[in-house]
């Protein structure tokens, strides 16, 4: 990401020779505006009216002062890139054997100091160790510096890059920017979107016309079939209505056949009369058996309901009883035509 930004000169890396680093430990995790940082920390700069680059990580504030006048939107200190690459190494004084030598002092993963020097002898190193109470010191080769530098250019996190972004536009600036530079592009965009939307609608309307024509052709082609289907459906409805109105009575011969099972061969009973009207049935039996015997059998028939003995009388000559049963017929679907 940074590589591309560098290529198109959107981003620029400030070398350690051209900047001065200052580390500040904030009492709280507070937000600081650029103006406030300038007001509080400009006094630590060795330069007059410096350009200030900052990086804030919770309570740590890293400040780089530089004298360069830079137009890029993104200014990244070289020291920051190398500090990020050294973070995993832990506490220590890290010296890159470049020309000039680049020195980094890290403690508790914080960058406490970074500077360049022409030479670093043992006495100076001891002084630094005592000052920062650090025992470890490591010297890296120039090739190692190049390797780490290139690695960080390719792998720096976007979140870190964002902190170095220099955008400080006021409402007035935005207004000016819009009116001065964006009015005509904006109007062009409006006209373009009008054109595109109108063209899209035109295409849709065209498509609708084509589909409508196709639909009408098919519809016309199918009209005879549709008429026939409608007529057919109307006929079915007509015949269904006929069936419901005229054929809703049960089939009396089927009832007669089913009834024949009520009187068995060894029964001493004769069917004297069988009268069927709509949903009622009246039967007269002549028998010497009890009336209840046949009443039970009639009640056991699946669609014989409310079987009632209407009357019974004894034939004096034969001694048999004539019993008249009245039966309502229900659930006659099976018995219908």
């Amino acid at each position: 990401m940074l590589k591309i930004l560098l290529k198109y000169k959107i981003a620029q890396i400030i070398s350690m020779q051209e900047s001065f680093f200052y580390y500040a430990n904030l009492p709280k995790d507070i937000k600081l505006s650029n103006d406030l940082i300038t007001l509080n920390y400009e006094k630590y700069s060795p330069f007059r009216n410096p350009e200030i680059i900052t990086y804030k990580n919770s309570q740590q504030l890293y400040i780089w002062f530089t004298q360069l006048s830079l137009d890029s939107l993104l200014l990244i200190p070289e020291a920051f890139l190398l500090y990020k690459s050294l973070q995993k190494e832990g506490d220590g004084i890290y010296i890159f054997d470049t020309s000039p030598m680049k020195v980094f002092i890290l403690k508790d993963t914080k960058l406490l100091a970074s500077f360049v020097t022409d030479e670093m002898d043992a006495i100076s190193l001891n002084i630094l160790k005592n000052e920062y109470q650090i025992e470890k010191d490591t010297i890296f080769s120039k090739e190692e510096w190049e390797k780490r530098y290139l690695y960080m250019v390719n792998n720096i996190r976007i979140k870190d890059l964002y902190q170095f972004l220099k955008i400080s536009l006021s409402y007035q600036d935005l207004y000016q920017l819009f009116i001065e530079k964006l009015t005509y592009p904006f109007i062009a965009l409006l006209v373009f979107s009008m054109g595109i939307s109108y063209f899209q609608s035109y295409l849709m309307q065209k498509k609708i016309d084509v589909l409508l024509e196709k639909y009408h052709t098919l519809k016309e082609h199918n009209s005879d079939i549709k008429k026939a289907i409608h007529k057919h459906n109307a006929e079915i409805r007509k015949y269904k209505a006929f069936e419901e109105q005229e054929l809703n009575t049960p089939e009396p011969y089927k009832i007669l056949y089913d009834f024949s099972k009520v009187i068995k061969k060894d029964d001493k009973a004769i069917l004297k009369s069988f009268e069927f009207t709509n949903d009622t049935l009246q039967i007269t039996l002549e028998t010497k058996d009890g009336a209840i015997k046949y009443l039970k059998r009639l009640n056991a028939m699946p669609y014989f309901k409310n079987v009632v003995i209407q009357n019974s009388y004894k034939n004096k000559k034969t001694g048999a009883k004539s019993i008249r049963y009245s039966i309502e017929l229900e659930g006659l679907n099976d018995a219908k035509h």
Binding site: I179, I187, Y215, I225, E246, Y253
Partner: protein, 170 residues
């Protein structure tokens, strides 16, 4: 210069808003119309592919009715009586036959109602009905009364037979 730009911008915005609100067709509506038309076309295509034969749509019910083109009401009744008489021949004795009155209603069919009483043996009674049912026309028994005459060992049957005559032929 700046005020000219602002004015141009405002006019452009007014034109754009009016264009969107009043000139530009509703594309959602157009899209919906396209979807509906596609569905309708698909439906028509399916119907077209089915290749329905118009002959398949004719119903066989017409045979169940006396045809009004062939028979007037009284001719149809006469035909019904003829069918009954033929069915009863040699197996039942028809004692009495009576035509019901002409029904007054505006349905697409006439009800042909005939009351009759006959004397028969049990088995012959079923044969009579089977003969009657062998004809293509529909016969419905609306009333049936059977009484046994022990002296003569025959059944006295009173029944109402109903058939139908189709008035119109659509």
């Amino acid at each position: 210069m700046q005020s000219t730009k602002i004015l141009t911008l405002l006019i452009s915005l007014v034109v754009f808003i009016n264009y969107i609100n009043y000139v530009l067709p509703n594309r959602d509506k157009l899209q919906h119309q396209i979807v509906v038309l596609k569905q309708k076309i698909e439906k028509e295509k399916k119907l077209n592919e089915q290749k329905i034969d118009l002959k398949d749509l004719s119903l066989p019910y017409k045979n169940f009715f006396f045809d009004a083109k062939k028979y007037t009401y009284s001719q149809a009744m006469g035909k019904l009586q003829e069918r009954i008489t033929k069915s009863a021949k040699d197996i039942c004795t028809i004692n009495h036959i009576k035509w019901a009155q002409v029904p007054i209603h505006s349905q697409w069919y006439d009800i042909l109602k005939m009351n009759l009483s006959l004397t028969t043996k049990p088995k012959a009674m079923f044969m009579f009905i089977n003969h009657l049912r062998a004809y293509p026309e529909l016969f419905v028994i609306k009333y049936l009364r059977i009484t046994s005459d022990q002296k003569k060992e025959v059944l006295k049957v009173t029944l109402q037979i109903v058939a139908y005559r189709m008035k119109d032929e659509k």
